[in-house]
Symmetry: C2
Subunit: 283 residues, 2 copies
């Protein structure tokens, strides 16, 4: 490869592509589950791809990791036990552990190589891995949730790749039933839910599966994310029965810094654009 | 070209790229000012490129056009006279004319070919071109603003391409001085202001030039826009002295439909992420 060159991800599902200008390929490993590649980009720091899909860049991952964690943690009344399924780059774990009230955060990613690559090329995402509250497992997240003690978890965050390949089983009723059983009555499930512009059908289908598993209230929060297709992404929160009472005062007084998340950004994300609200039956 | 194929825009300034899967090239014209190309995409409708940069897709242009118009029109107390510099695809004009209080909307784009291509390939954007309140000029926007009667305009919307080539002169003090003079005392200038993630320096520089021209208060509103680099874009509003009193009740009661813009989306966009607020000196 003659540097610099352009590295593209063609997202066939949506007919759109994203790309970064890169200087060099730094690493590649074929794990038992997927191919992981690391590139050095000219403007976005390091870039991790899994099976050809952009996963993380040094420059923009804060958007995703902050929005996958803080909205849920500032909605639950007092989250103490958090389980992250997937999330092998450890960025979501780091954000979860910024909350002093969290007593235990389990990260269960099937692929140890993702974490090994993150430790080497995204060390800042792994800076809380040694926190005594953190438990890092390399195991099947589906089995982990199925075997989780009922009513033992406050928040489950499903920080997965797209719903194909290893992550396919993280988007269906059986998995969501395990999450439902593992959560306490006031627990919250969070799932990354793809682009609200082009994958509304996926969000609808995912909410339907969550509904079959017993979840009754949903909240989809959009946010910008340049390294994912369309540059516009979302997470979806699900609860067993209660609404989503945002602890706004606590969010305003949060004892840690963020680059994207604020109480106002959180509130703003709760107002869906009409075309999204309509598709999700919320208008 | 063997269809379908992938069409990319490499955005050198930010080291990032966007692309669409296309079936066919429908048209191309080299105007005296720039090269305009039209492609039929597989999932995004038609796509217009100017000098290789993605300008409009059928599917996602509503985001940009709604945010370039409605926030300013629902901030000004009673906008009657609106001037659009650039905007040759007529999408911003259409949105401006949705406001019943607008008595006159002038669109001045230097390149007639952009409008001719829009009429043919994006007819829905041109559906208000026959409105008796609309005046469509093909002329130099810099000269138009320089010759505009002082204190005659309520809102100037600069709906331009990137600040290189034909649009370069739309981002400097001289042009902003013309806008300042043409605007009434309570007038508002709106400028598309590129990506808040990677072009904060451009927004800072643009605000500085606006400041030298006499504008004193600014408001940068981010919004998603998949067909522009990083998928995250912004517009910046500038006023002579007053703040930005949002006519929230009027926005809630607006007599027209939108796909993205709502009073709540408008309010949400006013809360900048900390890293943007800090860079713009607003934190």
């Amino acid at each position: 490869m003659t540097a610099p060159n352009w590295l593209y991800e063609n997202f066939e599902t949506a007919g759109s592509a994203i790309g970064f200008r890169v200087n060099a390929k730094l690493d590649e490993v074929q794990s038992p589950f997927q191919k992981i590649e690391i590139y050095e980009s000219t403007d976005w720091g390091n870039v991790m791809l899994i099976d050809g899909a952009m996963m993380v860049t040094t420059r923009d991952n804060f958007l995703y990791h902050e929005m996958m964690s803080h909205p849920a943690l500032f909605t639950h009344a007092a989250p103490k036990t958090v389980v992250i399924i997937g999330g092998g780059d450890c960025g979501t774990l780091r954000e979860v552990l910024r909350h002093p009230g969290v007593e235990k955060a389990v990260q269960c990613d099937i692929d140890e190589q993702v974490t090994r690559m993150a430790e080497k090329y995204f060390p800042e995402l792994c800076e809380s891995n040694g926190d005594p509250r953190a438990e890092i497992l390399f195991d099947d997240g589906i089995a982990y949730m199925a075997n989780c003690a009922p009513g033992s978890v406050d928040i489950v965050i499903v920080d997965s790749t797209d719903p194909v390949g290893p992550a396919e089983g993280l988007f269906n009723k059986a998995f969501f039933e395990s999450c439902h059983r593992a959560l306490k009555d006031d627990g919250i499930l969070v799932q990354q839910s793809e682009s609200p512009l082009v994958l509304l059908e996926l969000i609808q289908a995912m909410r339907a599966e969550m509904g079959k598993a017993g979840f009754t209230t949903f909240q989809t929060l959009p946010f910008p994310q340049p390294c994912y297709p369309t540059g516009w992404w979302s997470c979806t929160l699900a609860r067993k029965g209660q609404g989503f009472d945002f602890r706004e005062a606590d969010a305003r007084a949060k004892p840690f810094e963020t680059l994207y998340y604020t109480a106002d950004i959180h509130k703003g994300a709760q107002s869906l654009p009409p075309f999204v609200a309509k598709a999700l039956g919320e208008s």
